[in-house]
Structures are given as C-alpha cells and as structure tokens.
Amino acid sequence: MLFHLLEKPHAASCPERAGFRASWFLVASIVSNTQDGPSIFSTSRRRPTRLAWLAPASLVAGLLLWEGLARKAGLPAFILPSPLIVGQRFLELARDGSLWRHTLVTLSEILAGLAVGVTVAFVLGYLVAKSPSLERVLAPYIVASQSIPVVAIAPLLIIWFGAGTLSKVMISALIVFFPVLVNTVVGVRSVPADLHDLMRSLRATRWQIFAKLDVPASLPVLFGGLKIGATLAVIGAVVGEFVAADQGLGFLITLKRGLYDTAGVFVAVFLLIGLAMLMYSAVSLVERRTLRWRNGPEA
C-alpha cells in the first residue's frame, strides 16, 4: 500500500507535501494492516473481522492512558511528553520534510541490509545444510558472528567501510545473518528424506530437486527466519546511525537527544517501530501469498 501510493506522479512534484502525506500513509498502512489483517503472529488467511476493532481500540486506549498519565504526573515534556506534544512534533517534522528524508534513508539501509544478510545466509545455510563437513568448518565462525556485540564493533565497521551507507548496511546484514541462516539450515534439513528419494527415482536433476523440492518444502521455516531478520534489520541500521551518521532516524534520535527534545526522540522511536511493523507485515504478506498452496484450493 505504501509503495503504491509513493508511485503517484503528483507526489514527486512537491517533495515536502509528498513527504508529509507519505508519513501519514506509513502510519495509516500500519494501522490498517493491524486492523484488517489477521493477527501478526498468524499465518492463517482467515480474517477475524468481528475482532477487527480491538487493535485500534487498544491503540486509542493506550494513547488516552499515556495522556492521562502525563497530565496527572505533571512532569515536564523533557521527561515525559504527552501524546499531544509528540503528535505536534510529528506534524512539525513531517511538514518540513525532514522526517520523511530520515525515514527514507533508514528504510533504504534496512532493505539493503536485509537483502545482503538474507542472500548470504540463504546461500551459506543451504550449503551447510547439505554438507556436514562444511558445517564443521564454518560452525565456529557462524556462532561467532552471532555472539559479536554489534554495538562494540560498530565503530570499527564504520572505519573499515566508511561512514556512509555501506557501513550501516553491513551492520544490518550482520544482525540479520544468523537467524536467517539457522532457519535455512533447519528448513532444508526438515525436508523428508523419502521425498528426496522419490525425486531421484524420477531422475530429477540437482537443480530440479533444489527448485521443486528443497525450496518449497523449507519455505515455511525460511519465512520464520525472514520475519525475525526483517525486524532485526531495523536495529542494525539504527545502531550504525548512532555511531556515525548525518541522516536517518538513528541520527535524528541522537540529534533530538542532544537538544533535549524528548518529544522529537519519541517521534523517531515510533517511526522505527512503524518501520519494523511494516517490514514484518510485508514479509507476512509475501508469506501468505507464497504459501497459499499449503491451505489447499480456495473455497
């Protein structure tokens, strides 16, 4: 939905208006996804329409509770800004276009990091699943990649890959890599051996076994890894932006913290939550479409 709206030609003619509109569409798409779609943890295609009001009602109740708390506590905005103040700051940042610019930067880093991390993890995971000897050789490195405290080595990655987009993409890819790899290995190994025997008895080539059996049969598990990776990619990009950046939502948080603008920090944090939800929803959508065959023919 978001990408469809961004392609409209009039949006390009006025970047600031387009940015403002797109920011709203981002929120709207997340809410509508939560509203109309099935539970985010579900892979079922059935829509529990009678329960659709629960998500927006919970959102409104949460906002009211927050507003009430902020008013009752009487705390200054730099300690606990009310939702109204945060909303006001959101509009200001959306109007001047900066919010949209930072969001786009972070989103592009997330997508690139996800693409790199998932590609490497899929290829390596498949090879490891098929070759126990390769698994033994690579296992220490793979486990090490997961135990690296990314925050600690992020400054080094900035030095190695430069302070531009590449370093953020690499940090994001590093975080994405492990869960996707583990799920790839588990997914590929979960394919029943007798199905392999059947394919071989039919004289299927290696490529045919890969494309017609291994990939489709392991997809449900692969999507599990992809969902985790998609949300972790957001964290990776932001960690990189915290260390060294002049744009992106991580940079916006640093900037707003430096200005003691807590409401501005909240806006960036909510946008990041929105991006993570968007990524998760996008993977869920692809999953539902791709795995439609599992639910049998449409009624």
Binding site: P76, A77, F78, I79, P155, I158, I159, G162, A163, V243, A244, A245, D246, F251, T254, L255, R257, G258, L259, Y260, D261, T262
Partner: protein, 329 residues
C-alpha cells in the same frame, strides 16, 4: 543550720561521681553524615578529571559534607537528571545549558572549570592547514552533527568570517584519530588537549586550529539546578570550594595528581604513560585562571549567538539564569 554527716557527704560525692562518669560514657552529639552526591561526568574515567580525583582522594569533598560518587554517564543524561531535580550537579559544556534551558530544564552553570573551549580542528602538518581559511574546500571529519564538536566548528568558521559550509563535513563518529591516520578525511574536529597528542605518538604530527584562539565560548563546567541553588546554597558553595581546591592542587603538582589518577582510572597503569601525562599537561592550560570558576558573560553571549545562527536554538534564551558567579569560593 545542721551540717551533713560525713556518710551523707560521701554518698552525695559518690552519686555526683557516678553521674559524671555516666555523662562521660554517653555518645558525643551525632555528627551529621556526609550527603551522598552522584556526579555525572559525561565521559569515561580519564586523566582530564584529575581535579575531582585529587579532591576526593584528599578528602576535600568530605570536609564539605559531600560523599561524592562518580557516574560516567552521557553528558545529556546528566543534564537531564539535574534539570529534572533528580541530581544536584553534573558536568556539562556551556552549550548544553542553553539547549537544555530552551527545552524548559532549569539548569544553571555555576563553575567554569574549563576557561577556554577545547574544541579544535587538526590536520597533518604536511597539509599546510594552519588557519580556518585553509579549511575551505577540505573534507573534515566530525564525530556527530551536534554537541561541542559541531558547535565549536561552527563558531570557528563564523568567527573567521567563513561560511561553515565552505568545507565538507563528514560524520565519522568518535573515530577522528583512525580516520585521519587512514586518510579518510583531510582534517578532523577534535579536542585540543587529547587527539593531537595521540596522533603525534602514532607518527602523525598535526597542526591544530583552536576555536579558543578565534572566539571565547562557555566551556566545560559544573552545573546545578535552580531548585538546589535556592534550597541548598551551602551545598553548592561546598561543592565549588572542594572542586577549586582540587583544581589548584593539580595545577600546583600535576605529577602527584597523575599518581592519584592511577587509583581511579582502570588500566591507566598499563596505558601509554607519556601520552596520558601529556593529555593531563595539555588540559592544565584550559584550567588556569585568575578568577577560578568565573563565567565570562561575553563567552555566554558568543555561545548564545552561535546556537541561534546554527539554528540549534530556535529562539533566544534568558542568559541571566543560565549561569551564575554568585556561589564561587
């Protein structure tokens, strides 16, 4: 009048002696326990905090009734905690006070520990960069587009009459030494008392263009909040007295101060001693002052102007409440 019998007199004397003995055994009037004060430092343990280590080691804070505890938290967190009234003091740079007050944090700068702004631009000697004019068209690495480094750079260029955008700023995180050594940038924004020494020891002597040589800005010092200033002025005065004694002692005997630092900074024993000694030595010149802790109103005016010019302040801030010289020893 009947005289008391010798037995009665002896009994009375014994009773008085007993009372006197009981009095002697009573605990003395309770001495007031020192007040525990957690001080956000804004950076990791470092020789640049020598005055605090010395004052703590020599008991200056305890003499003022302060049980000081160091908290190596981020500068902005310390300012926010003081602004919220959670802590009475924090260390902060001048610009933080104005930025915080703009957001309604009632913080006040009470002791100008650093008399000059320590930010500078460093470039390899062979680059020939010695003035702000030489920076035009150059790629300059900066940790982040906020905070003291960014403001110092902006102030330097504006003071020299050069638009700050005349050089290309590249955000490199706190990796200035590595970036310059790797040739990623042609110059870097640094702290004059730290990175140039490290670069020199790593084989890259640098020229340093100091912000303080072009403009006076309010620098690192101790902040408190309006509530503490009103309700507990003696605590503030005591804190400043102890800090001043610490600064004086370090200036008088840096070598002894360095030895004390070793007890407070993990790993200092194993660090490059010559580098760390030089960092301390270079910091001393920022602390020397004829009027210890005194805030120069012009430095605050200048800082205020830079923040407005850069857009970090959207509207003027009341400078009156931003700093005070009223509590100085």
């Amino acid at each position: 009048m009947q005289r008391p019998s010798p037995r009665a007199a002896a009994g009375l004397a014994g009773l008085l002696a007993l009372i006197a003995l009981a009095g002697a055994c009573l605990p003395p009037p309770q001495a007031e326990a020192p007040r525990r004060v957690r001080l956000p430092m804004g950076y990791i343990p470092n020789v640049q905090y020598a005055p605090f280590y010395v004052a703590l080691e020599k008991g200056y804070f305890l003499e003022e009734g302060i049980d000081l505890e160091f908290d190596y938290a981020f500068e902005t967190d310390g300012v926010a905690l003081v602004g919220a009234g959670e802590l009475p003091f924090s260390l902060a740079s001048g610009e933080q006070v104005l930025l915080a007050r703009a957001q309604g944090l009632p913080v006040t700068y009470v002791y100008a520990w650093w008399q000059d702004y320590p930010v500078a631009v460093a470039a390899p000697v062979e680059s020939g960069i010695t003035t702000p004019e030489d920076l035009v068209g150059k790629r300059i690495g900066i940790p982040v587009l906020a905070g003291a480094s960014f403001i110092g750079y902006q102030a330097l260029m504006r003071a020299a009459g050069i638009p700050p955008e005349a050089a290309k700023l590249e955000v490199i995180g706190f990796n200035q030494v590595e970036a310059l050594l790797a040739g990623q940038t042609e110059a870097v924004v640094i702290y004059a008392n730290n990175e140039p020494i490290q670069l020199e020891h790593l084989g890259m002597p640098v020229n340093v263009v100091r912000v303080a040589d072009y403009v006076t800005l309010s620098s690192n010092g101790l902040i408190s909040n309006e509530g503490t200033l009103q309700s507990d002025p003696e605590l503030v005065r005591g804190m400043l007295r102890a800090l001043k004694r610490g600064v004086d002692d370090v200036l008088a005997d840096p070598e002894a101060a360095y030895e004390i630092c070793k007890r407070y900074i993990e790993g200092l024993q194993d660090a490059d001693q010559s580098v760390q000694r030089e960092v301390l030595e270079a910091s001393l010149e920022f602390w020397r002052s004829e009027r210890a802790g005194w805030s120069d109103p012009q430095a605050w005016e200048n800082m205020h102007a830079v923040l407005l010019q850069t857009g970090l302040l959207k509207a003027p801030v009341d400078l009156e409440g931003s700093y005070s010289n009223d509590f100085l020893p």
